[in-house]
Amino acid sequence: MNSRATATVHGWLLLLPAMACLALFTHWPAVATLVESFYSTPKARRPARFVGLDNYEQLLADPIFWKAMSNNLWFALGTIPTSIALALLMAVWVNDKIVGRTWVRMAFFTPTILPMIAVANIWLFFFTPQYGLLEQIVGLFGGRSTNWLGSQDTALAAITVVAIWKEAGFFMIFYLAALQALPPSLGEAAAIEGASRWTYFRRIQFPLLMPTTLFVLINAVINAFRMVDHIFVMTRGGPDNATTLLLFYIYQVGFSFWDTAYAATLTCVLLALLALVAFVQYGILERRTHYR
């Protein structure tokens, strides 16, 4: 055996344990999901049979699917820009020498390390009608009583707020790291030119933070399609599917209704969305982002 062949055997032996697990729990299930979306769900008396695009036709005609998709898009639209903007603001603040900086930074980051399922319990109380905290505050100003999580109009907004609260401090960390990596000479040069603080941020700091923004954006998009823990505690998708997100719907179809073929079809939609994110990241944004 020549040395090249030896190296190949060595290399693959080292990779083997990790690759075996990835194949079993990532690659194979992804392919199997795609295949299964073309079959019917096996029943006790009737095994799965090939149905072509039937599942996809069912999906196109399924009002709950469209509801989950539109909810998820609104959820993404609500969480992504807000949490990124807040993260940037937080990072700029705690990067400056403000009063109580260590404490403030800790406060922003704390939600990141708390289990979502645990803090959702607390938020549930905040949104409770009659005696919840939000209700008491609204009542103090003479506002009307609202069932935040029980109303079609406010439930999705309520779970969006919780997601923003959870994520902003996490994204802040990356902006903070990037801000501290900017050479201080840039600020000095800008000051000599007479640039205002706002101009310095807008024309120098913000453009140089673009790679970080891209990284944070990708994470935020993925999270928008993955974050469902708080829905289990706060709304269980209700009222009347007003807070059903795509992953939560997959869970319901797969594990409450046991319609595995249709769940696989829904999963394919989710995977296609994630692939689109990957494509946009590597294909377009990567090339246009300004790297230092």
Binding site: R4, A7, G11, L14, L15, P17, A18, M19, L22, L24, F25, P29, A30, V94, D96, K97, I98, V99, G100, R101, T102, V104, M106, A107, F108, F109, T110, T112, L114, P115, M116, A118, V119, N121, F125, F126, T128, Y131, W165, G169, F170, I173, F174, A177, A178, G187, A190, F215, I222, R226, F232, I250, Y251, G254, F255, A263, A264, T267, L274, A278
Partner: protein, 288 residues
């Protein structure tokens, strides 16, 4: 990278001309502190409700008597000791496998030149997009076939090969000077010895950073453990808490807040003690 670290003193030549002063500093500090208060409000409320008798859950009187009763009641109402043990076993098991598998794979990808390496790397990175959360239905079926449903290994298995960990370690191993590797080989070390004696010690900060991220992620993970567990023997804390707070307990907010705090306590205490290391490790693990 956090602020008052014992960094070399920033010289006057590098003072920040845009540092806020006077009124700007006051406004900025006020804004930041107000937002920070808003951010800790849920946690602060949980602490309030947990350490006061139930009748003060919604009445905020400073003279309210303190009590630890809610914690004892919560502890007695569900098998939290078992949940803690399960979670501890779970995160330890996941981390141990992730580190071993990740180290071997990263070493091959960083320092071995062999046929198919780029394909292997691409296949590994695919997991960054196709996260295990999306494949719950198919993964559940696999584990059912392996007859592992309702066991702790079933919660761990889909996560023990971590593309993120492999990627992170590969980047770190690539920064190890090749001369060190060569020197060790001249001394007669086998490839495995080189890995253990040269690469692993030099990558210690990466291991710590990744470890913290992994432990906090799996301590908090919920959806997958919810699906594959259905008994006290295998349930981790997050699932146990959900079962607890949505069952016959009704809405006893004081007890739920106590249970919530208990569940988050280990990570929260760890975070308060090692705040700087925590934040740094999240930064190190995130920035590539």
């Amino acid at each position: 990278m956090s602020a008052p670290a014992p960094q070399p003193v920033v010289t006057a030549a590098h003072s920040d001309p845009y540092a806020p002063k006077g009124l700007a500093l006051t406004l900025e500090s006020t804004g930041a502190i107000l937002l920070a208060l808003l951010w800790v409000l849920p946690l602060a409320y949980a602490v309030w409700a947990a350490i006061h008798p139930a009748e003060y859950t919604t009445r905020f009187v400073l003279t309210a008597p303190l009590t630890l009763d809610n914690f004892t009641r919560a502890w007695a109402a569900a098998p939290f000791a078992r949940y803690f043990l399960n979670t501890f076993i779970l995160v330890t098991m996941i981390l141990a496998f992730q580190l071993v598998l990740g180290t071997l794979a990263a070493y091959a990808l960083a320092r071995q030149d062999f046929w198919g390496r780029d394909i292997a790397f691409a296949l590994i990175l695919a997991q960054l997009m196709i996260m295990p959360d999306a494949l719950i239905v198919e993964n559940y079926r696999t584990l059912a076939r392996l007859d592992l449903i309702d066991t702790i290994p079933a919660i761990a298995l889909p996560y023990i090969a971590s593309a993120f960990g492999i990627f992170l370690l590969r980047q770190t191993f690539k920064t190890v000077p090749k001369e060190l590797d060569d020197a060790a080989r001249v001394e007669g070390a086998s490839p495995l010895q080189v890995l253990m004696k040269v690469y692993v010690p030099l990558a210690k900060p990466t291991y710590i950073a990744y470890g913290l991220v992994s432990v906090s992620y799996h301590w908090n993970n919920f959806l997958w453990p919810l699906l594959v567990t259905n008994s006290v023997e295998s349930r981790p804390l997050t699932v146990g808490l959900q079962v607890f707070s949505s069952s016959d307990q009704g809405i006893d907010w004081a007890v739920i807040c106590a249970a919530t705090l208990m569940t988050s306590a280990p990570l929260l205490i760890g975070f308060l003690l090692f705040q700087r290391q925590f934040v740094q490790s999240f930064m190190r693990a995130g920035i590539k």
